[in-house]
Amino acid sequence: MSARGDERREVQAGRAAWARPAAKRETPARVVVTGLGVIAPNAHGADAFAAALRGMKSGIRRHERLAELGFACQVGGVPEGVEALRTRYLREEELLAMNPNMVYAAIAAIDAWKHAGLAQPGPEDEPDWGAGAILGTGIGGIDTIAEQLVPRVDAGKVSRLGSTMVERIMSSGNSARVAGLLALGNQVSTNSSACTTGTEAVVQAFLRIRSGLAARMLAGGSEGHSPYIWAGFDGMRVLARGKNDRPEEASRPMSATASGFVPGSGAGVLLLESLESARRRGARILAEVIGGYVNCGGHRGGGSMTAPNPTGVRRCIRGAVEMAGIHPSRIGAINGHLTATFADPHEVASWAAALDLPPSRMPWIHSTKSLIGHALGAAGGIECVASVLELAGGFVHGSANCEDLHPALAPFAERIPHRTIDAPDLDVVAKASFGFGDVNGCAIFRRFHEE
């Protein structure tokens, strides 16, 4: 309360570090993680999610509706118990203008805010001019468009759409709603870069705080679940096949029998904060963001709308590691993109090339998607949350369903944990996401050291 009051006076006087033009900062601000919010197919809340990761709890279930509609992939990851949660977090008036994607973002953002020890502001409170949000989504409100907008417009009932349609289908709906719930006064935006979205949001928010333009940023991504969201991927033949009767075995990153990704949903949000701000308010520091980079392979050199240019991938990882200023051998674990498509062996090869390490000296390589599926625009956010929980908790969760390792990954076999490993010395985790459009994002998290 008083910290915020201090900041307000400082910004009015032009003194707050994050209110000064970036060019006037002598050195970049250090950026730390002080809060985590997550609603994932296997858990809700940071503590429950950490326990689910440690216990390798799968959130993949069979969904009969997908079978009825003739999907080849009839399994998916959907957060459970949301009906009861919705009304605990949101008023009826707010829910009337929200779709599931926005609800997930709101739950995770409020959780991250409170996890950081911040109070949820009231309707009369002044905006927090130092706090913003970059919350992305890959597909957005397409379920609302399909179920409500198109049928009514086609039936000539535009006058019956009501007032909430735009709020529910605009791309920025998730970040916009969160801005109101938490009285955010800094940049509030929704990014979209397919499956890179969540990690890109974290990197962008990190850079904004680092440059002194914000004190705190909520960053991550959200994605709803609907046959309309998932159908296009099934039509492309990129969703998992052949494991509909064994959902927990369906998501098989790095496996020889990987047959495509299992669609997931939910939201993962990190509260990033300048070290200065975190110290001023005595916040608990969970980790530091020491590097971040985003780029595109330009659909050249083997890259395309749907495949990555390996040179782009490697440059992205190197860019993040260089900013982090660490030797690659300091990285203790890689939380990969690793979706369970043909691209997994190529991704691991790119990590090895980018880090310039022999297979035997590579960090632990694992995929959170093996437990929760691929949450598209939410994936990077949820997996960045997982990475910070692993750092803070000193463990690397097991990568499920790859006991039958892809033959191209044989040299890395010793570095791919099938069971959860206690790693009390884990100091640096690298998280990368890659998406359609040949886009890449990489964030480097380190345990917080005072130095």
């Binding site: 008023r91 009826e92 008036e93 009337l96 309707p123 019956r160 009501g162 007032s163």
Partner: protein, 81 residues
Amino acid sequence: MMQTEVFEKVVGILKPFVREPEALERVGPDTSILGDLKVNSARLVDVVLEMEDAFGIAISDEEADSVRSVGDAVSLVLRKR
């Protein structure tokens, strides 16, 4: 339909849109929909649509614009029926 019955029904329609629940406890004909109940002005469109459905009436944009208080809404319904 009696005036009190219409009043109760109108309040029921407004309820999900009310952002000041305490004001609902002392709601009367003079209660301002935007000022007292703090209904988001954009949501008046939804209130009108629900009133049309609930009372089987058609409300023009001009008629909707004239509604300020809960009593205005009740009078409009009684006039249109």
